[in-house]
Symmetry: C2
Amino acid sequence: MVRTSLSGFPEWLPEGRIIEMHVLDELRRVFELHGFAGIETRAVETLEQLEAKGETSKEIYVLDRLQALKAAELGARAPKDKGMGLHFDLTVPFARYVVENANELDFPFKRYQIQKVWRGERPQDGRFREFTQADIDVVGNGELPFHFEVDLPLVMAEALNNLPIPPVRVLVNNRKVVQGVCDSLGVTDVEGALRGLDKIDKIGPEGVAVELAQSGISGDQASVLLRMAQVRSCDSAEIRQRLADLGVSGELLEEGLRELTELLDTANKRMPGVVVADLKIARGLDYYTGSVYESEIEGHEDLGSICSGGRYDSLAKDGKRTYPGVGLSIGVSRLVSRMISAPMVKASRKVPTAVVVAVITEDQRERSEAIAAALRARGISTDVAPSAAKFGKQIKFADKRGIPFVWFPGDDGAADTVKDIRTGEQVEADPATWTIPASDAVASVERVTD
Amino acid sequence: MVRTSLSGFPEWLPEGRIIEMHVLDELRRVFELHGFAGIETRAVETLEQLEAKGETSKEIYVLDRLQALKAAELGARAPKDKGMGLHFDLTVPFARYVVENANELDFPFKRYQIQKVWRGERPQDGRFREFTQADIDVVGNGELPFHFEVDLPLVMAEALNNLPIPPVRVLVNNRKVVQGVCDSLGVTDVEGALRGLDKIDKIGPEGVAVELAQSGISGDQASVLLRMAQVRSCDSAEIRQRLADLGVSGELLEEGLRELTELLDTANKRMPGVVVADLKIARGLDYYTGSVYESEIEGHEDLGSICSGGRYDSLAKDGKRTYPGVGLSIGVSRLVSRMISAPMVKASRKVPTAVVVAVITEDQRERSEAIAAALRARGISTDVAPSAAKFGKQIKFADKRGIPFVWFPGDDGAADTVKDIRTGEQVEADPATWTIPASDAVASVERVTD
């Protein structure tokens, strides 16, 4: 169900798209249930905006008008667009949108945004160059209370755990904890420590120790950092105990621990067992300033984090104001790709259609259209057979697409009948009153269990 | 509500986006009700695909990786992506998708596709460089019955007339009629005739006569073509009569008239008065092969056609097969832009939220969260006040966003109450049983009448 005639640019067949739309609809439903407003930003940003964070510049697709390029090749002077590129995430555009519209927005502003993003990297390890992200963020004007660092990951946990996939855990850490531990140990190259710890799953503790040494971190310091990185628990008392055992202390560490344990305690009340503190999380800690989030799907840990985010005290800035934010982003395409390929799920049919109305002869097509109109008026997705072929062929039209019902206009004043082509059961029916079983009304997406 | 910090790239404020999402949801609902399957194609096509139709090449945005460009500037050899650009419509990508997946698709294949497209033209007359289109097409394998040329414009008419906008008329013409008239008159430069007639609204009949003369069309021929272009009617008998009055005839003309009048007659039965034959429609007739469609919104004729399309006998082709198609495309961004700016409509609020739960003190935040969870479990979009400010300030939080209800947790064992902040009415309520008025459950979009 996945096609990529251009490497890195996935497309789904219709049944795959039904699965993707189910995911997108469910995410939107949960986000709106929690009061997030949907916005959409243009796909295009100025290169200046996109390059503000230097290290992502390699990923940008730059735009040029073909006409201008051709004119340039011919040596003519062509009007040059100011440097523009496709956005590579939804955070940079959102930050710009907030600053541009600050006077019209109500803060704290909670928004969700579900859009495609593009990254010009070489497609490797199945990485996509075009993919859909689903983000939620809350942004404050000047200040943003800590409780949003508890709320946001729980909204994502609810959204993800509503999908027909195995349980999703949200893993959390806190920049202040890691920074506090480094401060207490006298480690000054915190970025170096984070870079090293980030590789722990790939190269193991011994490999990380070597990396840390190269950043000028002593063996004793590295040993404590590696013990810290092994702390993983839902239980805030255990977290506190194990950090106390490391012999580290300090004001910032204490603040970080307060935040991390409050997040765990509240999460355990609202949604037991879903949020886990994992102190080896280092990715993003160089720019996040408080809580940081990753996630894993039970049994699909190899997929990596399909939902990540954190708190940044300076999501956006203009002349006078700073806008702190907390947010998370789901990599929808990567998730859907796994849902399809595993497979985790199956769509009940390839089309939205619940009923096909048969056509007796082409002269009587309008009778069939009238039946279809009556069914549609009652919200039932209905198609009319494309030709007045033999009924066997019209049934096959439905069967190939997974459409459950075929409707037969009654001949010579006889009542209409409707046939469930899965069971063969055929009953008299009136399009003004017939009710479709709820489970057949729309294409459904169900877990595949093997 | 419209912002364009980059010329030609519109963005909506949250209330504008609510209007756009209402439009997109309604279009999707109607398309699915008629059995169209939703697909999405990548935003990127090879230049080869995009340039297959020469005359559109000026509109293409070409992609390059920034890293490759920078390397080239430094004189280094960089891996060059094969020529890729952003799609400028949804027809070219759909045709490619059909050919690539022909073995997995079921024909006739009915699909809808709602996506952004990009055109690198100079933004003038409020033209957008990035905008959303909503397309429906049906494509056959080798053959495609005529009745789809009747069905498709009626689906679009239903979709558009379900929106909170003034009545939309679908205007139709038929390539075979115009070609047949030209043949009968001995006009050989049919393209020239179409180019001239296309300008009739802009430069008037006299101007068109001059243009036609330049294409080698005689005064007598031009006079008949101009009389043909004045024919506009819902009534198929009138159409036939007025063409007969022109003194033209021929087999192709007769076939075209049969199709055009069958379309009118069926449309008048299913949806009286919505479809109008308008023989001056010339745009697109150079590549459409049968019916051609445009549209107009009553009172907003100046906006031009916001929904256009037609029949093309060769939508797509591969080595062995030809795939004929019929389809129409709505320019959603242009429509929404007018809906907002006219204004035709108003959103009832700026957020999905129906209820804000007040917070008594920060220590009691979890009580408010529990109430919110109970309301959300029953499908009611609920937010919790961001801080335990004075109740007046918490009510203002709701009021600014247009949220109709504020929920107050009962103090000291008292029952909770919920207040309609529009009327001031406040009643006791239990989050497990309270029902919200249907009209307040979701943000609604209503016609503005002045």
